[in-house]
């Protein structure tokens, strides 16, 4: 297939070539590089750059550094479309995690990252080490991790494999987060057939630091020492994340199970406390975690950012097993390791601090002025690679986006008849795994450790965390969102919706977004229709971010999520961090007081395209309703202002399952009924659209009737429609001639039973 390929060597020279395995036989006549995932053309560029053939160690390092996972070679150009600058940005993309200023001298660092392929092979350890990896990214910039959120995707729960993956991934996330003592405060889980082979496990971590303590990863200072901290280096995970994440999984990934790493949260807990203690004492020049491609990647990136060289002696690396080859030491993905740069006179103090935390620390190299990564094994040279070749010269590929001419995905199996009556439809939606309560999962996570959690899972649309421990009220709100099925209907609008939904969840607790992190989970980008999904989704995300003035400060791309049955739904996942002045005023989603008025605020045009009801009826649309970004942003400001004023009792975003499900969820959360007359204020074309249609922009609020009257007054051009009153033990919904009346306990049984009933 044709693929435009651009070499960045020597400036803007670009060349076109056909990329087929048969063409362009490598100069050395063998094809070892192909087994390592490098194309013949890439191999030739390596030889050109080195002016010689690479030795096996060097080739192994190149193959990982130039892998999709490390080099973003199919996405880097596209990512430039995303806005990355804003008033609050302290660290943008390129560091281990992005960071924004939250006032009072504090910064919040955060990032979302995928661990999809390892989790599809071994869900418990795959998900656990995904959490471990994202935690390291955050404390690598000097921030103390305070919260984890997870975005998970599996196949339908009818499938034993999906139940196994769900069970293992949730247990693995809990195992790591609970053991290390970082609260898991939020997340989302969706089940769709397209994730049957490739589940998605995206983990987001949020950390906090004083602005001055943030540290970058650039190595600096000729003669400074490079010190490896943490776990011993073993053969585990050789070529793990970087290899797994850079190619499609076959029908059975079980043979790759040995390349999944094993997590040790106790080791990481010590490493975390030790790293922060080293930073508190001002002992480090720079800090970097070891992730995919292990030492190779960490050392090259530290050297590249600092514009320096590094000499490494692999014989000094403490090993888990004897007899490891230099290349194995360089590419091992053993977990729970960090790399830091230390001035020689401070080494003893660094080693003493590490000993106090029982963390192994070893000087394994030094910063040089050579601009090269030189690897030694004792005195013997084992490799000599220009850092720029490893990090900057990886060829970047232009995508060849083409909209598909035929539907890419089979419609889902029908589970509900079109003429199913309204009452049963509502209960079926509430019990549908995508809508139903995720209590089964989140009760397996410690949501409280750290004493910052002011709004727990399912109690509000976003998690709320106190910024301070001194009783002052400033707080953070965090949420993570993404609906792959809707993105499959229209990648541009679906991705924009994900950004808007995240911002809406923040607005529901009174928070203003400060920054965004994303994880782009897609199929094989070398296929034109996947390239099209990716391109359109990034464009939609970029436009929504610009409208909201929210910068993207970091993220991750996970490609090749496809198997023989085709690609996953295009799944951009958006994590957002915002701030609010007063955690006590963060509203929950529960209706609280009988007699409170209920209203719908926002430009909401419910539509069945891409909805959960459409899915239950066996449909999959090829379009979504249009969005007026300006009106959306205005509505978010109105919701935020109303919540901050402290007059509302609840605010809950209309999302999966539409207005009827949002109302039902607020009833269940509050243990109270409601009488609602949805008199088709929203441009709904049918009763189904009105009750169960989805789309961006709607928030159900409740409060004393004066508060709702004030809201109407203050909202200006933002639509606010009175819907009814809180009270009783039944949700009574009237819409035109139709009406339904469901006891709250019946709603609760459906909503709370949806997951456990399918898992027992």
């Amino acid at each position: 297939m044709p693929l435009r390929e651009t070499s960045r060597k020597g400036g803007s020279l670009s060349e076109r070539s056909e990329r087929t395995p048969e063409r362009g036989v490598a100069r050395n006549g063998n094809s070892h590089h192909r087994e390592l995932g490098l194309t013949d053309s890439e191999y030739e560029q390596i030889v050109d750059r080195l002016d010689r053939e690479p030795n096996p160690t060097e080739l192994a390092i190149f193959s990982l550094m130039w892998s999709e996972h490390c080099a973003y070679k199919h996405s880097r150009k596209l990512l430039r479309k995303l806005p990355t600058e804003g008033a609050h940005v302290v660290m943008g993309p390129g560091e281990n995690a992005g960071a924004v200023d939250v006032g009072d001298g504090l910064a919040v660092a955060f990032k979302v990252e995928s661990h999809n392929h390892p989790s599809a092979v071994e869900p418990f350890q795959g998900a656990a080490t995904g959490v471990g990896g994202i935690l390291r990214d955050v404390f690598a910039v000097g921030a103390r991790p305070i919260a984890v959120l997870d975005s998970l995707r599996f196949g339908e729960l009818d499938s034993p494999r999906s139940r196994y993956l769900l069970d293992g991934a949730v247990a693995g996330i809990g195992h790591y987060g609970n053991s290390i003592g970082v609260a898991t405060v939020g997340g989302e889980i969706y089940f769709e057939g397209s994730y049957e082979q490739n589940c998605l496990v995206n983990a987001m971590c949020v950390g906090i630091a004083s602005r001055e303590r943030l540290i970058r990863s650039a190595a600096a200072g000729h003669g400074n020492l490079v010190v490896l901290l943490g776990a011993l280096t073993g053969r585990d995970g050789i070529g793990g994340a970087s290899v797994l994440a850079s190619a499609e999984l076959g029908a059975d990934g079980a043979d790759r199970r040995p390349s999944v790493q094993i997590g040790d949260p106790f080791e990481e807990k010590k490493l975390l406390e030790c790293s922060l203690a080293l930073l508190d004492r001002g002992l480090l020049r720079s800090l970097q975690d070891l992730g995919a491609a292990g030492l190779s990647s960490s050392v090259s990136e530290m050297a590249s950012k600092g514009g320096v060289g590094i000499d490494l002696d692999v014989s000094k690396v403490p090993l888990r097993e004897a007899g490891m080859e230099p290349f194995e030491v360089m590419i091992s993905e053993s977990q729970e390791r960090m790399l830091c740069v230390v001035e020689p006179e401070l080494l003893d103090e660094v080693l003493a601090t590490c000993a106090n935390w029982d963390v192994t620390a070893t000087a394994i190299g030094s910063v040089t002025q050579t601009g090269s990564l030189r690897i030694f094994s004792g005195q013997a040279p084992a490799g000599d690679l220009p850092v720029s070749a490893l990090v900057d010269d990886c060829p970047l590929y232009d995508l060849d986006p083409q909209p598909p001419s035929a539907p890419l995905y089979d419609p889902p199996p029908r589970r509900l008849a079109n003429d199913c009556e309204t009452h049963a439809t509502l209960l079926a939606l509430l019990a549908s795994p995508n809508v139903a309560s995720k209590r089964w999962a989140f009760e397996q996570y410690d949501a409280l450790v750290g004493s910052r959690t002011a709004r727990r899972p399912q109690s509000a649309d976003a998690a709320v965390l106190s910024l301070h421990h001194d009783g002052t009220s400033g707080a953070l709100a965090v949420a993570i969102d993404g609906n792959g099925r809707r993105v499959s209907c229209d990648p541009y609008l679906g991705a924009a919706e994900a950004v808007l939904e995240c911002a809406r969840n923040l607005a529901c607790v009174g928070a203003e977004p400060l920054g965004l992190t994303n994880c782009l989970n897609f199929g094989n980008p070398e296929k034109p229709h996947v390239a099209w999904q990716l391109t359109r989704a990034v464009e939609g995300m970029a436009d929504a971010c610009r409208a909201l003035r929210v910068p993207v400060v970091g993220g991750n791309v996970s490609l090749y999520n496809e198997g023989p049955a085709g690609p996953i739904f295009p799944t951009p996942v958006v994590g957002m961090v915002g701030s609010l002045p007063d955690a006590r005023r963060a509203t929950g989603s529960a209706f609280l007081e009988p007699g409170h008025a209920i209203a719908l605020i926002g430009p909401f045009s419910p539509d069945l395209r891409g909805s959960e009801l459409e899915k239950l009826r066996g449909g999959l649309a090829d379009s979504l309703p249009q969005i007026d970004l300006g009106a959306q942003v205005e509505a978010l400001a109105a919701v935020r202002a109303a919540v901050r004023a402290g007059r509302l009792a609840s605010a809950h975003d209309v999302s999966d399952g539409g207005l009827a499900c949002a109302l039902a969820e607020s009833c269940v959360a509050g243990g109270v009924g409601a009488r609602v007359n949805a008199a088709a204020p929203m441009q709904a074309s049918s009763l189904d659209d009105l009750l169960f249609g989805e789309g961006a922009g709607g928030v159900v609020v409740s409060g004393p009737s004066e508060a709702i009257a004030e809201l109407v007054e203050a909202a200006g051009s933002v639509p606010v429609e009175p819907l009814g009153t809180v009270g009783g033990h039944v949700l009574e919904l009237t819409a035109g001639a139709a009406s339904l009346s469901v006891p709250v306990e019946e709603l609760r049984a459906a909503y709370e039973g949806g997951l456990p009933d399918r898992l027992s």
Partner: protein, 227 residues
């Protein structure tokens, strides 16, 4: 009055306990490698995974240097509170009766539960009354209280059961719905629920603060009596 909160390398809730204690008295962290309690008036062993706890929970912590000092302090009648992992550690150290086994559901569980105060004789419960209902969160994978029949009968007869899960609230299969027990002398209390996560109004309940406040008062009046 000063609380000391023990910090093992794998402790998770030590700062939480410190913050909660400071609402009612002075408090400081005690390092697991030290052999002295530094003159504190009450000791809290916090939640977490003391030394990773990959084998049996709390089994390694009992051998740490600080635990010798805690044991001596407890034998002298000093107030000691073990929360979650701290409870597990105190059972392993033989400072409390019974053992904590994996939850019957075999899953970690984080959930707010109601407890009833059964016997209120320990320094941590003296300010409470039998029958009081407390709302505290649990979060553990191994919180099923177990003791052999004879020991269990002895515990009940000696009024050592301080806290029970309210009817229908037992999250882990604990025998007799036991959520917290004291030693025979009553100065050491272990419980699986987390009082330190129910001390600040933003946490939704301040019932846990009552246990710490009770100990702060008990120590202060003790000090007055001695003076």
């Amino acid at each position: 009055m000063r609380f000391g909160v023990v910090r093992f390398p794998g402790s998770c809730d030590e700062v939480d306990a410190l913050l909660a204690c400071r609402r009612f008295a002075d408090a400081e962290l005690l390092w697991h490698g030290d052999r002295s309690l530094g003159g504190v008036d009450a000791v809290v062993i916090p939640g977490g995974f003391s030394y990773g706890d990959y084998l049996r929970v709390g089994a390694i912590a009992r051998f740490s240097p600080i635990m010798a000092a805690v044991a001596a302090f407890a034998r002298d009648g000093g107030p000691v509170l073990g929360i979650c992992n701290g409870f597990q550690v105190l059972c392993e150290a033989d400072l409390l009766p019974g053992a904590l086994l994996p939850n019957t559901g075999l899953r970690f569980l984080c959930r707010q539960v109601d407890l009833t105060v059964d016997h209120a004789d320990s320094p941590f419960t003296r300010a409470l009354a039998p029958g009081d209902i407390l709302s505290l969160p649990v979060k553990h994978g191994a919180g099923r209280f177990y003791a052999p029949d004879d020991d269990l009968r002895g515990l009940e007869e000696n009024n050592q059961v301080a806290l029970r899960y309210a009817l229908g609230e037992n999250p882990n299969g604990s025998l007799n719905d036991i959520a917290g027990v004291t030693n025979a002398a009553g100065n050491v209390l272990g419980l699986m629920p987390h009082p330190e996560h129910a001390a600040h109004p933003l946490s939704g309940s301040t019932d846990g603060g009552r246990l710490l406040q009770s100990a702060a008062h008990a120590c202060a009046s003790n000090a007055r009596a001695v003076a």
